[in-house]
Symmetry: C2
Subunit: 362 residues, 2 copies
DNA sequence: TTGAAAGCGCTAACAT
DNA sequence: ATGTTAGCGCTTTCAA
């Protein structure tokens, strides 16, 4: 720990200049500029001495750190743990590794000031930034872009702001879900939307998608088959246990509807659907015997509940990996080619139904 | 992005040397060495120009990066997602922030070569390393220690190897669980252990703890009240869905025991307990009506299952934070004081019962 | 093919 | 109180 081995040490031992060591160690000029004998000796001594390039030093002169920042903005998700964002992070990690980049954790919990991202760029601590699950309405993103920072969002659901983004097709969520249910023979399908004061974009898009696809398919959806703020009577202020309230109320609503209700329901997220399950059972509504129920997110615990919950899954790991691929491409393409306001790349990822036991034929 | 502002730029603009800028910016010598007027001007110009210290440069000269590595070794947990480790990570994040350290993600998924940790130290990329949920039997940890690297483990369950570690009292898990059940009047308590070929240390300790505490309390535990490999008949090779097999088999065993079985069971982890729930219901065993059941880990989804699962929780966030506190203390205490084989610090964290609805009075 | 030298941007003695 | 200087360890022209 005390005496770290430097290039000079290696050079002295070999009896050459440190420039030669540098050339060899970096495999510069296609390994063609330094004599084979010398190369061998340098490599040998370097290994013997346990030489490792000093990171700070190299970054200083190269003006590159081969490090990517990762930032998860605070979100109103308030879901069950952090599994969602963390799954994206796994994809990010795998791809970074593949490209030989390191990851600097700028903010995981969402309670870190986004300005920190700007700082890390200004300090030349990172070459690029991955934004996980950003929702937009973030002026600091504009600031980043304006400064020409390399940023790519994984699972972005905000407005077009010139940001490269991997986006999940939240409207298609409802499409594939409804198609799944229709495929099981259901013609009467209801939707459980968010009852929040300011629902996140994901849930809004899913609800819009639901109304759209049912209309296209000619399925009638009376107002009382869409459970949201309207039916709840009051919008809910942000709080940790909102899904509990939403789920219980929705389930109660279904129990009350009885025979007049749909034969299948899609909840805007797993959590709400999962909470409904025991309440439905308690109310004498069998799932999937009397109604089919499905959620969205394909959370890990879907197989833990009874019955295991059919859900719509996201290619989260993929979105993370592809975001990094794109970011690295940008970084290695060299300094900002396009100075003006560019329009961001968008890659859309499709949802997939993961059928389990909570949905069945009518 | 092109022209980054350096100290020289600030100095030129102010009309002083860059040494003055450095002193001011770093608040060196207790802000007492530079004149107040000069100080103001420097600060003003620095702000105006948007000056930020170059990280590589500073690290190079300071020989400190104010960065902590985070590494999660691969583990046979194969549980439900990564919520467990990630929760520790949140604690690590919070504490790092508090101390003004950044976090470098060396390995999250457990499929990153541990040697990478050594490399990061050798490249002087990190000042210290946090090991999350390490199980020991890791020769590379010895290597790290031998080189005098600063390492602290959060939730360590391996043998004493001179590593500073935050450890969870896995034996006490069973103690508090049994006490909880006894408090509800249960005198006949069974245990569901791991059926794996090589069970992880956590589960082994929990089982040992169970046998010990029941003995101490004078509770009789006939062999068929401890479900493990013996009763299953075959040890299970590592696989993703082991908990499924364990849970189903255990539940089946309980159904078969009928009246001859205990009135309460403790499963070595939530996942197994959660899987048992529907099987028990299917077998006509009411929880908590006929038997009480509890798990360990207090996973997020415990409240999702029916009935919500009573469990034993860990102070995971705390363990993460305290690990960082200790690591930072070590780092800032200066270079390795103790050269010889030191004995690592151990801070033991107690478990807590988180009562929900799956346990009730006899 | 190899070496000398000039920085990268900052810090910390040491001078003034 | 402020400036000068000598590096930190590496990369990269440019000479030899």
């Amino acid at each position: 720990m005390t005496g770290h081995v430097t290039m000079k040490d290696v050079a002295r031992r070999v009896g050459c200049s440190s420039a030669v060591v540098s050339t060899v160690v970096n495999g510069a000029r296609g390994n063609t500029v330094v004599g084979a004998a010398m190369r061998e000796r340098v490599l040998g001594v370097a290994a013997e001495l346990g030489y490792r390039t000093n990171f700070a030093s190299r970054s200083l002169v190269r003006r590159r750190t081969r490090t990517l920042g990762v930032y998860i903005p605070s979100s109103p998700w308030a879901g069950l743990g952090y599994a969602y964002d963390d799954t994206i992070l796994r994809g990010v990690e795998a791809a970074s590794r593949k490209h030989g980049y390191d990851l600097l954790l700028i903010g995981l919990s969402g309670n870190q000031d986004p300005k920190t991202c700007l700082d890390k760029f200004a300090e030349r601590r990172i070459d690029g930034l991955i934004l996980i699950h950003a929702e937009g309405e973030t002026p600091w993103v504009g600031e980043l872009l304006a400064r020409g920072c390399n940023v790519v969002a994984a699972d972005y659901s905000g407005p077009e702001v010139g940001l490269d983004a991997m986006v999940f097709d939240n409207r298609a969520v409802s499409r594939v879900a409804v198609e799944h249910l229709a495929g099981l023979g259901h013609r009467q399908i209801g939707f459980i939307g968010s009852c929040r004061l300011s629902p996140n974009r994901d849930s809004v898009l899913r609800q819009q998608g639901f109304l759209q696809v049912t209309a296209e398919m000619g399925l009638e959806v009376p107002p009382e088959w869409v459970f949201d703020q309207r039916l709840l009577g009051r919008p809910l202020a942000p709080d940790a246990d909102l899904c509990q309230i939403e789920g219980r109320a929705a389930a109660q609503h279904i129990v009350t509807l009885g025979q007049r209700g749909p034969t299948a329901w899609l909840a805007y997220c797993d959590l709400v659907a999962g909470i409904m399950l025991p309440v439905l059972r308690g109310g004498g509504v069998a799932v999937p015997g009397q109604i089919s129920l499905m959620g969205v997110d394909d959370s890990d615990w879907c197989r833990m509940v009874d019955p295991p919950l059919t859900s719509v899954g996201h290619p989260l790991v993929d979105m993370g990996s592809r975001a990094v691929d794109q970011l690295v491409a940008r970084i290695e393409a060299g300094p900002t080619e396009t100075a003006g306001p560019r329009s961001g790349l968008r890659i859309v990822f499709p949802p997939t139904v993961v059928a389990k036991a909570s949905t069945a034929s009518v």
